[in-house]
């Protein structure tokens, strides 16, 4: 389908942190500053915006980071990630309802289920890359949607699975108030992001990038490309599962929306908008889209797709680096440094068919 030299949607800044000389003080200081700023933002979020919305942002941010891990670093666009987010949401919801598990455990059970689901889907899907991969994952997610919809006894069908408790070892504040729930859930969100960051910056992550940029070469070097892809697919599904489980429990119910293809579309939108292959971008994208949707719901404007669709088209056409990538470039230019990945940007133009 595509020539071996062709790269898939690229993680612009993906490889750059490692490409930069280690121990370069400015860069590492900046990285720490960024991390500190991110943490502060995460901590004050429910003070500045309505706590349930803050929780939505956190969940979507982790979901987008999970997708970015796959898209930005392995070059695989999954258009069926709702299967893992939603599959985990249902399992987490069910375990919380029927077994009364405290929510962190319920979410973990959900995430494990998402990974178990991702294994066979990943095995089948990685047989094709590029666009095929997107279509195949979409179709598998749709299959799960139908199963969930039909299996009414378990899932409540279109009524959804209602009355999911947010059990937290009897701590009333967390169980009842969105504000405190956010802080109880935050460690899992940040833990998930940290894991994604670890994966990216591990030898495993570097092999991934290699399989993305040049699968044939990676194969020639003796790497089992498919195996790497399945592994990152499963990890990504697990993180999406954590996000989906937390989302469901924070809302107190799970609905079909969670496994619908529009949810897969939304997370792709968030990731691309924020900036593919940057991890940070996924977070920025989640902040923008969730707040936008929330504001539009009360604005009286009845065409969300017109706004998100147009913004998305503009981003894909003009700012393929996304919000994060574009801003990072601008900052780099202003500080007189070479933009992190001009080379990649130029290569974008050359690797056409």
């Amino acid at each position: 389908m595509s020539a071996p030299t062709q790269t898939t949607a690229r993680g612009a800044a993906a490889s750059s942190p490692d490409a930069a000389p280690r121990g370069f003080l400015g860069r590492s200081t900046r990285r720490w500053l960024l991390l500190a700023a991110g943490l502060v933002l995460a901590l004050v979020l429910p003070w500045v915006i309505y706590p349930p919305v803050a929780m939505d942002i956190a969940a979507w941010a982790l979901f987008a980071v999970a997708l970015d891990l796959l898209l930005g670093y392995a070059g695989l666009l999954s258009f069926g990630h709702a299967a893992f987010w939603g599959g985990s949401a249902y399992v987490a919801g069910l375990t919380a309802v029927h077994w009364g598990l405290p929510f962190p455990l319920a979410v973990l059970v959900g995430a494990v289920f998402a990974m178990a689901l991702a294994w066979p889907i990943g095995m089948l899907s990685v047989r094709r890359s590029g666009i095929y991969f997107a279509m195949v994952t979409l179709a598998f997610a749709q299959m799960l949607f139908f199963v969930v919809n039909q299996w009414r006894g378990l899932t409540g069908g279109e009524n959804g699975l209602q009355g999911v408790p947010a059990g937290f070892f009897g701590v009333e504040a967390v169980e009842r108030e969105a504000f405190w729930f956010y802080y109880a859930a935050l460690p899992m969100i940040i833990g998930g992001m940290w894991l994604a960051w670890r994966v990216v910056h591990s030898p495993f992550g570097r092999v991934l990038v290699a399989t993305r940029d040049n699968p044939a070469r990676a194969r020639a070097l003796g790497y089992d490309v498919d195996r790497y892809r399945v592994m990152v697919f499963v990890i990504s599904a697990g993180l999406a599962g954590v996000a989906g489980g937390l989302f469901a429990i924070s809302h107190g119910f799970v609905s079909l929306q969670e496994v619908a293809w529009q949810t897969s579309g939304k997370v792709v939108l968030i990731t691309v908008l924020g900036g593919i292959g940057t991890l940070w971008g996924a977070i920025v994208g989640a902040v923008v889209i969730v707040i936008l949707e929330d504001q539009l719901a009360s604005s009286g404007f009845d065409g969300i797709g017109i706004i998100t669709g147009s913004v998305f088209i503009i981003v894909v056409l003009l700012f393929r680096r996304g919000v994060w990538g574009t801003v990072a470039d601008a900052v780099a230019r202003r500080t007189g440094r070479r933009p992190a990945d001009e080379a990649v940007g130029a290569a974008d133009g050359e690797d056409g068919r």
């Binding site: 389908m1 595509s2 020539a3 071996p4 062709q6 790269t7 898939t8 949607a9 690229r10 666009l77 089948l124 899907s125 047989r127 094709r128 890359s129 590029g130 666009i131 095929y132 997107a134 279509m135 195949v136 979409l138 179709a139 598998f140 749709q142 299959m143 139908f146 199963v147 039909q150 699968p215 044939a216 293809w261 579309g265 792709v268 939108l269 691309v272 009845d302 065409g303 969300i304 797709g305 017109i306 998100t308 669709g309 147009s310 913004v311 998305f312 088209i313 894909v316 056409l317 393929r320 974008d348 133009g349 690797d351 056409g352 068919r353």
Partner: protein, 289 residues
């Protein structure tokens, strides 16, 4: 026995919509390397345009069958020139994303303009009722859809095999690197081919107008089945798209008749089986990556 014949015709009729639209998808993919996510939205636009033209200027079904695809061709040409062409040099995923955004935009624009409850469409008198062949009664419209789309597919096939343009398109679809290597200038044909693919989706939409609900969302689930169709048929294959389109229609009809609760899942199971056994699809060639 009668029932089996009935289900077969109904399945093939349902498959006609998939076959026509998938054919458009396959041709566009072949020449541009783009998977058009907005194909479902274009199918919807075809139906909506037919309904709007009927309402505004009283254009009847038969005229719409000609005019709407032409309009959709123009729409496709504009789309290719203004948006898609800017990204063809890049990874094809970007165009996949672009057309995804486009489908969100188109669906909501239609919703705002023409409402959410659907548009009315008067069916042509001559196509109502049922045809009786012996004991078997078949809805006239279904038979018409089937015959009509078979003729269109045949026409496209002749175009592909008997004309120079067709040869170039087919060659670049099925052996793109080779075609380029031989110095054939494919680029001239990119824009019209894109328009042609969109026109086919629009045509499927017009055919759906008398028969299905005309709403902004009508293409949303259609596109997902369409993806399954091209995966089953093999993305790079024109014949594969058509055969898989009809095949999926049949699977759907018999699934609905004998295992209704599973009928939607069956298609995806079929897809999974195909990927397992022949990753490139029934008619596709093996990937060289």
């Amino acid at each position: 026995m009668n029932e089996i014949l009935q289900y077969t015709v109904q399945g093939l009729a349902a498959g006609s919509f998939y076959a026509l639209a998938a054919l458009g998808l396959a041709i566009i993919f072949g020449v541009l390397g783009v998977v058009n996510f907005a194909h479902g939205a274009c199918y919807m636009l075809g139906a909506v345009t037919a309904a709007v033209l009927l309402d505004l200027v009283g254009m009847n079904f038969w005229v719409a069958l000609l005019v709407v695809p032409v309009l959709m061709f123009v729409f496709g040409v504009l789309l290719e020139r203004l948006l898609v062409s800017r990204l063809t040099a890049l990874d094809p995923l970007y165009n996949f994303l672009l057309t995804f955004g486009l489908s969100l935009l188109l669906v909501d624009l239609v919703k705002r303009q023409y409402g959410v409850s659907g548009l009315p469409y008067t069916r042509p008198e001559i196509l109502t009722g049922q045809l009786s062949v012996g004991d078997v009664r078949l809805p006239t419209y279904q038979v018409f859809v089937l015959v009509f789309s078979l003729l269109v597919c045949l026409g496209v096939w002749l175009l592909m095999t008997r004309t120079r343009i067709g040869m170039i398109v087919r060659a670049s679809t099925e052996k793109s690197e080779l075609t380029r290597a031989l110095g054939v200038d494919v680029s001239r044909w990119v824009t019209p081919v894109f328009g042609f693919g969109i026109a086919l989706a629009g045509l499927a939409g017009v055919l759906a107008a008398p028969f299905r609900a005309i709403t902004a969302d009508m293409g949303s689930s259609f596109i997902i089945i369409l993806f399954a169709v091209v995966v089953i048929g093999g993305l790079g294959s024109i014949v594969g798209a058509v055969v898989a389109g009809f095949l999926v229609g049949l699977v759907e009809a018999f699934g609905q008749a004998y295992a209704p609760t599973l009928s939607q899942i069956v298609i995806f199971v079929l897809m999974a089986v195909v990927i397992l056994i022949r990753p490139a699809g029934l008619f596709g060639r093996e990937e060289n990556a």
